[in-house]
Structures are given as structure tokens and as C-alpha cells.
């Protein structure tokens, strides 16, 4: 009953967490009862097409999961943009973004001993949040549309529906190729940036230059990209070296954290090209300070993001090493003779 398993897996991922197992067991029993009735009428097992018909009559995973949402909340602007199934996750992501924005803003204000008035800091925070709200709402609206247009996308086994144990068996060659392409594009360009500041500063090259904080970033990028290229090449040759993949990723993220930390400590990412310059020097110093503040803000956000990624990768590596019971694939519906 692979089709039923995939259907139930698709529904499971959309159900409220606290009732998930309960609902799934009831759902599985209902569908199996219906299939058994039909098999009894026909006097033979159902074909996959017949099973699919029953599942379609039951409703798409998103429709089914939506009916079990305890609070039928949604986002609508005229027509519904985000339905009750995606709404709880949408709210979680928005709150997470708001939390990160507040943490980063406060950290940046403390780090740079900001003399900005509180109102200005609050307005800057609000504008960041509005931007993130627009992006997150847009992405979730697209996800909802995609779910509505392709409600039966669950039929083909999706990589996300596999358990960690299954995922852990190999890294797809397509993923390694994709990563290699991106890294090969970045390899000649990023490390060359310090020698071609015009790519960043444009006509301002005569006035501004990269500071020590930026220099350390550029120095670290080259070995990190090389590490990524080596990793992708090894995995192209042998996609089963999954532990190697996660160890390398964790190593790269750890190195990134260290580099970001050093860069933030150094502080200056933009300096005046001509510090002793004439009349407009104080204006340029003001500009450099603004750019440094912006760069620092961005790097703190990267550091926070990097920390989250590091945590996720470490957890993935630990689960690979010590898979839990739920990581092992089991049929979601009870087999004959088993509860």
C-alpha cells in the first residue's frame, strides 16, 4: 500500500502536531475500510488506479488536513491568500522573523553604541519587519497557490517525505552538481573582489576602500569555497558518503562562524581611501560610518543565521549517527494482525 502510505505521509505533515497520530490512525482505518469493501465487491485486490480514485474522492492532503485545523484561520484579501493548513506555520515564521529582527537590532545598537534616537531605531526595525512580512506572505501565498493547483503532487515520492534514515543513504548527484556550479561561479569572482573594489563602490573607489573587517572576510572566502568544491567533487564520485557531507558542512559553517566573529570584532569594513583628504573628508567619514553600520547589521544577521544553520547541521549529523525510532521508515497504516 505504497500509495496509501505516501498519501498519509503527505497529510501527516500538514496536521496539527498534538492530534497527528490520532487523526492519522482514524484516517487510515477509514480509507482501508473503504478499500476492503470495494475489494469484497469486486472479489479481487484493487489496482493502483482504483486506490487513487478512492484517495481522490477522500480529498487532497491539503483539503483533508484543512478540515482538522481547530481554528479555521486564514489570510484573505478579497480572495483567500493563505488557507487554514498553512496559516499556523505562516504565523510561526512571521514571529520567528520578528524575534530575529528585534534581537539583531538590539545587538547592533549595543555593538555600535548607537546614538540614534530610539524612534529612528524603532522605525528602522519596523521597515525591516514590513519587508519581511511582504516576502513571507508572498512565499506562503505562492505555496498555497501551488497546493491548490497541484493538489496531487504527493503522488510522486518527494525527497522531503523521506525519513532522515532514507535521506541519509545518499546525497543526490543533482544536488552535488548544483552546488558545484554555484561554487565554481563564485570561485574566481568573490576572492578577486578586494582587487576590484569598483565592483562594489563604483565611482566611489577613489574615496572608499575595504577595511580590515572586510579583508578578513575575503581571505576566508577562498578556502571555504575550495572546501565546498572538494566536498561536491567527492560526493559526485561517491554519493553515499553522507557522513562526510554533513561533517564538511558543519566544518564550513563552524569556520564561517569564527570568521564572522573575527570580522565583527575588527569592525571596520569600509575606510576612506584618502583619510587625510580635504574639505569633504568629514562627509566621507560620515558615509563610511553609515556603510560600516549597515555592514555590521548585515553581518550580525548572517551570524545569527549561521548559528541556526550550524545547530540544524549538528542535529542532522547526530541523528545520522544515532537514528531514533521515528527516523526508521515504517508503514503509516497498520498491517494485518498488527495494531
Amino acid at each position: 500500500m505504497k500509495l496509501l502510505d505516501r498519501y498519509l505521509q503527505a497529510v501527516k505533515s500538514l496536521l496539527p502536531k498534538e492530534q497527528r497520530d490520532d487523526i492519522l490512525q482514524e484516517l487510515s482505518d477509514a480509507i482501508l475500510s473503504r478499500m476492503e469493501d470495494q475489494e469484497a465487491e469486486l472479489g479481487r485486490p484493487l489496482t493502483e488506479a482504483e486506490q487513487e480514485t478512492i484517495l481522490k474522492q477522500h480529498g487532497s492532503p491539503m483539503q483533508v488536513a484543512g478540515r482538522y485545523q481547530t481554528a479555521q484561520r486564514s489570510v484573505a484579501f478579497g480572495r483567500e491568500l493563505i488557507g487554514p493548513v498553512l496559516f499556523p506555520l505562516y504565523i510561526k515564521i512571521l514571529l520567528l522573523n520578528l524575534g530575529i529582527t528585534i534581537v539583531v537590532s538590539v545587538a547592533a545598537a549595543i555593538a555600535f553604541a548607537s546614538h540614534q534616537p530610539m524612534l529612528q531605531t524603532a522605525m528602522a526595525m519596523l521597515s525591516h519587519f514590513i519587508f519581511q512580512f511582504a516576502i513571507v506572505t508572498g512565499l506562503f501565498t505562492l505555496a498555497q497557490r501551488s497546493g491548490d493547483r497541484f493538489p496531487w503532487g504527493w503522488k510522486s515520492p518527494h525527497p522531503a517525505s523521506r525519513s532522515t534514515a532514507q535521506e541519509g543513504r545518499r546525497i543526490p548527484r543533482s544536488q552535488s552538481i548544483g552546488e558545484l556550479i554555484v561554487l565554481v561561479i563564485l570561485l574566481p569572482w568573490l576572492p578577486a573582489l578586494p582587487f576590484y573594489p569598483r565592483t562594489i563602490f563604483g565611482d566611489g573607489t577613489a574615496l572608499l576602500s575595504f577595511g580590515p573587517g572586510a579583508q578578513i572576510l575575503f581571505k576566508a572566502i577562498y578556502p571555504l569555497i575550495l572546501l565546498g568544491v572538494i566536498r561536491s567533487c567527492v560526493l559526485l564520485a561517491n554519493p553515499r558518503r553522507v557522513r562526510f557531507y554533513w561533517v564538511m558542512r558543519l566544518a564550513a559553517t563552524s569556520a564561517s562562524l569564527v570568521v564572522l566573529g573575527f570580522s565583527l570584532r575588527m569592525g571596520e569594513w569600509v575606510v576612506l581611501a584618502n583619510p587625510g583628504g580635504g574639505d569633504p573628508a568629514h562627509k566621507l567619514a560620515w558615509l563610511a560610518e553609515k556603510l560600516n553600520r549597515g555592514a555590521g547589521f548585515g553581518l550580525i544577521a548572517m551570524l545569527v543565521g549561521c548559528l541556526v544553520v550550524w545547530g540544524v547541521e549538528l542535529r542532522r549529523l547526530v541523528r545520522l549517527q544515532f537514528p531514533s525510532q521515528e527516523d526508521l521508515v515504517e508503514p503509516l497504516h497498520p498491517q494485518n494482525g498488527q495494531a
Binding site: E26, V64, Y68, Q338, A339
Partner: protein, 110 residues
């Protein structure tokens, strides 16, 4: 357009009736599949996607009680009316009778 409008209004009409039908049927114990079949046998078709969430909602409102039991080598969730559900059902049936009587009177006059 007329078909869509009729369908919309038909669903509205069915919604309240279904709750009453489910509560009446659950004076006797059923699990989801047998309940659905029992209602269908009486001419009230209801799809599983509507029935199961409805049962959970009624249970969360205290009108039903349920328990998991093994039957035919599978775990099934059996529902029945709770004491509170029984009291509410009697009140709903009285209300239903009142509405039915009024509607009949209106139809006769029309």
C-alpha cells in the same frame, strides 16, 4: 450560476441537519465508517472528509465520547453520545420539530 447558487444553499441547508442526524445516530455506538454507512442507508450521504472532523469537533464540545478498540485486527475509534450530548440532542430535536411545524404552516399558506 444557478447550479452554483443552488449547491451553495443546499450545503447551508444540510450543514445543520447533518449534526442532528449524527447525534441521533450516535445514540448507539458507531465507528466512523459504520456511522457513515448507517447515515447513507437512511438517505443522508456524507463524505468522510466532512464526517471525521465533525465527530472530533462534537467530541471537543463534550457532546460525544470516544474510545479506541481493536476490531478485525485494526484499531478503531468508537463514538457514542455523552450525557451532555443526550440532553442537547433532546433540545435540538424539540427545536427541529418547532421549525418543521412552522415551515409546514408557511408552505400550506403559500
Amino acid at each position: 450560476m444557478d447550479t452554483d447558487l443552488f449547491e451553495h444553499l443546499r450545503l447551508e441547508l444540510r450543514r445543520g441537519c447533518l449534526i442532528l442526524a449524527v447525534l441521533v445516530q450516535l445514540r448507539a455506538e458507531h465507528y466512523g465508517y459504520t456511522l457513515r454507512k448507517a447515515l447513507a442507508d437512511q438517505g443522508l450521504e456524507i463524505d468522510e472528509g466532512t464526517l471525521y472532523p465533525l465527530l472530533r469537533r462534537l467530541e471537543s464540545q463534550g457532546l460525544l465520547v470516544s474510545e479506541w478498540r481493536e476490531e478485525n485486527k485494526r484499531n478503531k475509534r468508537f463514538y457514542r453520545l455523552s450525557p451532555d450530548g443526550g440532553r442537547i440532542l433532546e433540545q435540538l430535536l424539540d427545536e427541529w420539530q418547532r421549525i418543521n411545524t412552522s415551515l409546514n404552516r408557511i408552505l400550506q399558506e403559500a
